[in-house]
Amino acid sequence: MKPDCFESLRNGMTVGLDRIPRVDIATFRDAVIGAVSAGERLSALFAVPEKRLDPGAAGFRLLAVLARDADGTLSVVSATVAEAYPALTPACLQAQGFEREIHEQWGLLPEGHPWLKPLRFQARYPDAAGSSAAPTIGLTDFFRLEGDEVHEVAVGPVHAGIIEPGHFRFQCHGENVYHLEISLGYQHRGVEPALVGGPDRRTLHFVETLAGDTTLGHAFAYAQVVEGLAGAKVSARAQALRGIALELERLANHTGDLGALAGDVGYLPTAAYAGRIRGDFLNLIALLCGSRFGRGMVTPGGVGFDADFYRIRELLERLDRAEKDVMTATELLWDTASVMARFENTGIVSRELCETLGLVGPAARAGGLRRDVRCDFPSGIYRFAHIPMAVLTMGDVFARAFVRRLEIQRSIEFIRNQAGSLPEGPIGQELGPLGANRLAVSLIEGWRGEICHVTLTDAQGRFAHYKVVDPSFHNWLGLAMAMRDQPISDFPLCNKSFNLSYCGHDL
């Protein structure tokens, strides 16, 4: 690896497009593969037609964003390719989804990709290399197992519960799953192309609904992108309020997940209590901004709603009650042998596998990886208020559950500290025009893990391209691997222990 291949930047910062190194594809490959094998993560890999960056140019620009957790550095490198290039995936598994996406959207061929099938079954983009009929959703090859006592189970897209659609194909031998293949795309709404040309009056609403249960995480990441491009500085008060809201979102979802895990093993007390307490946290978000999902809370430049002394006092009082409730409700899980028997040693994803797949969030931390954007790439309030990272080593359902339990405690502590000493000052500001011909990268630790937004602006400062990487994009393959050699009846439990987003993946 040649370090001079990369341009480095910090989370939330921008860099001129002319500063991004443009190397040949062989150097690009070597640099990315070398960096990932040295422990960096592929946070984003995507293609943009050259003519969007330079009207006269032909071909496509491949851009890679690498994240180095050790010192909080992001690096960018790019290469121009025509219609095909040697795939990175054979030497860098973290690229597998990104390269399928690049192929599906732009018709670029990553030669040598071992399983180049549709990712979202979306139509090619208008500027793609070559045309192709829009694929039919779900029609594709699946891995097949042959032999006696082998059978295949197909589930979805419509599932049994109130849940988003996706297709799961299990290759089973008796009760045991040899391989699970997950085929998504049913939720594809075209969020990324809808963002191109923005920001406009719809932009924030696309961002807030690209994964509705992560409204605050994605809105935060988006706000950071445009603030970086506008050169705006967010007030300390707005930063603290953003942090409080983001941790409330984490609390609501972690609590809901622990309840759902309890429900999946038939332990109803915790299931019933946690379902309700999740709502108590959502109602605290609504106390701040009127919406249980945080719609309108984070706005470019600051926050949409202030909180005075009385509102904060009510927030803290209700937080105390919710803390007591959530702790007694979830403590029952760890004390109940029948629950532990189902959680422990189920759906193990080893540390090595977590690293190879590039997993993020609680799934990675449950497998022993020290990886949390709030600690590694802190921005906003997280630069000043440190949240201790919750890391376990077992990589099983228990670890993924217990990491959430630890994070619940730490998020409550964080909110208490921040709300108890809110800095004075304004909460918002009008942003100036966005910088032209720049690239911005923004990372946020959402409740599922790293949210990455990357945008490139054109000569007018509009979005020439907008790339969203939801944590689910990295983690779906982790779920598939967790199911290897597991009884198929453990699928709901493993699935819930990841609780990934369909719409965040499908965009």
Binding site: L287, S291, D325
Partner: protein, 253 residues
């Protein structure tokens, strides 16, 4: 061990809301429900609200009207209005029977009517619904799911979400209906035995929400099936959904 379970049970208390026999819980003061329109404040050529609306829900000619089916309740219109003619109230009762009833000019919002006698005889005391997310962002889905928690306890009204369309009396659809979900949604609808109901929850399912007119979606399910209940919101508050369901079944006066 057992003592812990009993202690936890006592601490968690009885939390099911008395609604609808007593009044609904107080919603947060910043909750954005039914808008209040003060048309008298509008100046003739002002279109600030319509220009700010992300979904084209607001029109100013011939007079200020809001399509609650398209509305995201973001209040961008209220913020843009220089005259203070739009204010979002705390009123959560929003569900309507007909699509056109969601076009609201500030005078009267026509709430959902009960099903006819025969349909109420069939569904009034036992309604089984199959939920289909067709591109929903998981916010509508989550706040439908909440109705199953002890707080709302949907079961006490005889309403239940079931795992198979064959066991269902109707569909509750969320999401703008992506092209990739169209076939699965139609097949699910066909699998529900007649007579059947269709309920649309959220701005996406009613009119496409923020994704309206994007090529990847079909602007919701309003034109795909005969619809019995429209529940506006982005997402609708659980109380809004519950209120709509109970009105549909004639369980609310």
């Amino acid at each position: 061990m057992l003592l812990n379970i009993v202690r936890a049970r006592l601490q968690q208390k009885h939390r099911t809301m008395p609604f609808p026999s007593a009044s609904a819980p107080v919603l947060p003061d910043r909750f954005r429900g039914l808008p209040e329109l003060d048309v008298g404040k509008c100046s003739p050529d002002c279109r600030a609200c319509a220009e700010a609306c992300p979904t084209g829900a607001v029109t100013t000619r011939p007079k200020l009207t809001m399509d609650l089916g398209r509305c995201l309740f973001c209040a961008d219109c209220a913020k843009a209005c220089p005259h203070g003619a739009i204010r979002f109230s705390n009123q959560y009762r929003l569900a309507a029977t007909r699509r056109e009833d969601l076009c609201y000019d500030g005078s009267m919002h026509r709430l959902a009517r009960a099903l006819d006698c025969e349909a109420r005889r069939l569904f009034g005391r036992s309604l089984k619904l199959r939920q289909v997310s067709a591109g929903g962002c998981n916010a509508c889905e989550a706040d439908v799911n909440v109705l199953n928690t002890p707080v709302f306890d949907l079961g006490r009204f005889g309403i239940q979400f079931v795992a198979s369309p064959r066991h269902a009396d109707g569909l509750l659809i969320t999401g703008p209906v992506t092209r990739n979900m169209l076939e699965a949604l139609k097949k699910t609808w066909e699998a529900v035995p007649a007579p059947k109901l269709v309920i649309l929850a959220g701005a996406c399912a009613i009119a496409g929400g923020p994704y309206r007119d994007r090529p990847e979606v079909l602007n919701g399910a309003t034109d795909l099936f005969p619809v019995n209940l429209f529940v506006p919101g982005c997402p609708p508050h659980p109380l809004t959904i519950l209120d709509g369901l109970l009105r549909l079944l004639g369980q609310l006066a």
